[in-house]
Symmetry: C2
Subunit: 111 residues, 2 copies
């Protein structure tokens, strides 16, 4: 097994209700904070009409992921998530072993 | 490093256009086919209003992921994806090293 290219955290969730109660503000603040952490590489997020949300964040190391998980403001948000916002969630810490990327050539973009 | 719990494929994509041209049918067929593959564990998918789609599939082994990647009908769908549907995508094959799950107790579900 070769060394990981980088690391990923897959967070999938179902909201408990549609009520906000600070959810959107906290989600935006957590993304802002995550981007400022050492070892942060990127973040992608989508929530479909069925309510399933998937957020994937990318990191340079497992240590960086662990440090972000222990960040004081993040810990408070995690607690609110369990108490108020989420019906169910799964969090997976992953080693990224292979990466394939496709980008359509610019000239074909609008053809 | 302990052994992976299981494996995940993270597929993030931006559609080229909103035009269908067989996209929805093919996406549904690929999910149906994936569920029938040896070693398949699960799949979760979300596409947000900004057009970013994230699909994560879970597998028992890297061999199962590789076999699904080489499936004849899947190869045709991949080709259509590059030719017709996607502006950009990334595919990451991951080893899942940690898993944390939260489920709200049933009695609290509607409180």
């Amino acid at each position: 097994m070769t060394a990981p290219l980088h690391y990923a955290v897959i967070f999938t969730s179902l909201r408990r209700t549609a009520s906000e109660d600070g959810y959107a503000e906290t989600a935006a603040r957590m993304e802002e904070l995550a981007r400022a952490q050492p070892g942060f590489l990127g973040i992608e997020s989508a929530r479909g009409e069925d309510g399933l949300g998937i957020t994937v964040s990318y990191w340079e190391s497992l240590d960086a992921i662990a440090a972000w998980g222990r960040h004081a403001e993040h810990l408070l948000a995690q607690q609110s998530g369990r108490e108020k916002w989420y019906q169910i969630y799964s969090l997976r810490v992953c080693s990224v072993m292979q990466l394939r990327e496709f980008r359509r050539p610019c000239a074909e973009g609008s053809s």
